[in-house]
């Protein structure tokens, strides 16, 4: 009896702490979303109030959409993120398969070489990357960003995926070999579908820093045609710093896509990390 009450009290305390932290985590997002739907006067009068029929105003969103470029920025971000994600997952999985499946000379060394990138951030090579991109004429192209992000995402992808691929049953692969499947078919048809949770984990951890990166777009592709949404909203805030409706609406719009992508992958996320390298 007393233990039951004790555990009920404990669970209430746990919920209390978690709710408190959830409020702290979501409060700023709430502030942005709520105020982006209010008229200018209402934003200043009472920043915490919900928009009412009187104070409801879409003028911020109208300004942003009239600006027009945001659609292009959004498209750029999408292209860069999806393409980099595709290459990181494909190349990373291939390399991880080679490292975990075959025993060959230099296997361990190769693994260490690829893992080096987890510890050393690619930003420190910026000086030389910029020179390479200038030399190859890739400055102000999305290709430059995709290349950089692919290289940046690969080390962690290879590391996590190869841990997972060691867990794929050998019997299954050998059965495939006896049936005459080529090594490529075994990889694409047997192994890849089995490591889906790991792919989702890698996807989330790769995607977030790419979508939100300010450094490389600022340095490698600052032109109007290649701005990403992160850089675009940073510049926009600079220009419209007094037009709060517009700024808040732009920020609100920038949250939505990455939130949707996260919700798509997040169901796989915990399953992915639990079985992964970091346990």
């Amino acid at each position: 009896m007393s233990t039951a009450r004790h555990s009920a009290a404990r669970s209430i305390a746990a919920h209390g702490v978690l709710i408190l932290y959830t409020v702290i985590a979501l409060f700023p997002v709430f502030v942005i979303v709520v105020n982006s739907f209010k008229s200018r006067r209402a934003i200043f009068a009472d920043p915490l109030a919900l928009p009412t029929a009187e104070t409801f105003d879409m003028v911020g969103y109208q300004t942003v959409l009239k600006q027009g470029d945001f659609l292009l920025y959004f498209q750029n971000s999408m292209v860069v993120t999806v393409a980099s994600l595709f290459f990181v997952l494909l190349f990373g999985a291939m390399a991880a398969f080679a490292l975990s499946e075959y025993r060959f000379r230099g296997n361990l060394l190769m693994g260490l070489y690829l893992a080096l990138g987890i510890m050393i951030p690619i930003r420190l090579g910026t000086v030389a990357i910029l020179q390479i991109m200038v030399a190859s004429g890739l400055v102000n192209t999305l290709t430059a960003l995709i290349l950089v992000y692919t290289a940046q995402g690969l080390p962690l992808a290879v590391f996590i995926l190869s841990e997972f691929m060691r867990g794929v049953s050998d019997d299954l692969k050998n059965a495939g070999r006896i049936d005459g499947l080529s090594e490529y078919t075994i990889f694409f048809r047997l192994v890849l579908p089995l490591v889906r949770p790991a792919m989702a984990t890698v996807a989330v951890f790769t995607m977030i820093p790419i979508w939100n990166d300010l450094w490389f777009p600022l340095i490698l592709a600052p032109s109007e045609a290649t701005k990403t949404i992160t850089l675009g909203s940073q510049v926009f805030i600079g220009q419209f710093v007094t037009n709060w409706n517009a700024v808040l609406a732009a920020l609100g719009l920038a949250i939505v896509p990455v939130l949707i992508l996260y919700l798509i992958f997040s169901r796989q996320l915990i399953r992915g990390i639990t079985a992964g390298a970091v346990k």
Binding site: F187, S233, S266
Partner: protein
């Protein structure tokens, strides 16, 4: 041994794309940066090998060294705040989340992770709004509970700005330690927990005596990821305080110092050689930190296999 195995082409095919991109875009530029830091321009404008002279300038010449040590010290404090606040809070949240039969765990987990997926632009701007003394949600809220006297324009005061930014960054990234520790706690086998319960170890003492030792390796990994991340931080400071890392350089960290030096700002011209020198110094600091972790800490961590 008469017949050698044929060369297995598929291994090369599997490895080649990753290896190629990684080497060309990451390793070669890193080596390039290290190399560039050994050169400088002559008065005539030609490039000349100067050995370690750039480093002597960076560490010794008061015009450079003052900024450098200031940035390094700030960066150290930035890291310390993360270690003292972010990781314990992350562990606590994960421990609460992983308590058995907790309802709505998935909701909490998702909600607490949301700041992590927001871009620095959003984070920097919204916190500036909240803490702003003019629009100020923070002064209003403190006023409501009668603590208005505690309010100060935290981002604008030299003595508070860096700590405030570090706490904002903690707010943003606490989801990562929470997620990783949560996964580690979930992977502790039920038998271990049951055995502890049979012996009467429950609640707090179960956490401290059974679970914490089992998740120490994960905490180690998180610490080193935090270290690498913090010594590369740039975006949050840049979007909220600008490249000058005001007020009066009190929030200047190595990332912003590198950016200013390499690309120049206002009247100062960019200097690729000194920029590369700073990048190399950062590379050295991170390498020392990682090696310290690998050799001094990781080897002492005890790992358990289930």
């Amino acid at each position: 041994m008469a017949q050698r195995k044929p060369f297995r082409w598929h291994i090369a095919v599997f490895l080649a794309p990753a290896l190629l991109v990684y080497t060309a875009i990451m390793i070669v530029p890193l080596i390039g940066t290290l190399n560039l830091s050994l050169f400088n321009l002559t008065e005539a404008g030609g490039r000349v090998f100067v050995g370690l002279k750039n480093f002597a300038t960076l560490f010794g010449d008061p015009r450079w060294s003052e900024s450098f040590w200031n940035a390094l010290g700030n960066n150290g404090w930035f890291f310390l705040v993360h270690m003292l606040v972010q990781n314990p809070v992350g562990v606590m949240l994960a421990a609460l989340l992983s308590s058995p039969r907790l309802r709505m765990a998935a909701f909490y987990r998702t909600a607490i992770f949301i700041p992590t997926i927001l871009s620095f632009v959003i984070v920097g701007f919204v916190w500036k709004l909240i803490l702003s003394p003019i629009w100020g949600i923070a002064p209003g809220m403190l006023d409501a509970v009668g603590l208005k006297a505690l309010f100060a324009p935290w981002l604008g005061k030299e003595e508070y700005a860096l700590t405030t930014l570090a706490l904002i960054s903690v707010w943003q990234f606490v989801g990562i330690p929470m997620m990783l520790i949560y996964a580690a706690l979930l992977s502790i086998p039920d038998e271990v927990i049951e055995a502890a319960e049979m012996d009467g170890v429950t609640g707090w003492s179960q956490f401290w005596k059974i679970k914490l030792p089992l998740i120490l390796p994960s905490i180690g990994i998180i610490s080193i990821l935090t270290f690498v991340g913090n010594f590369n931080a740039f975006d949050l400071i840049y979007v909220s305080q600008g490249a000058l890392a005001g007020p009066n350089f009190s929030t200047d960290i190595l990332g912003t110092f590198l950016y200013r030096t390499f690309f120049g700002f206002q009247l100062q011209l960019g200097d690729p050689h000194m920029g590369a020198t700073i990048a190399t110094a950062m590379f050295g600091i991170i390498l020392v930190g990682v090696c310290f972790y690998l050799f001094a800490i990781q080897t002492r961590l005890r790992r358990y296999q289930f």
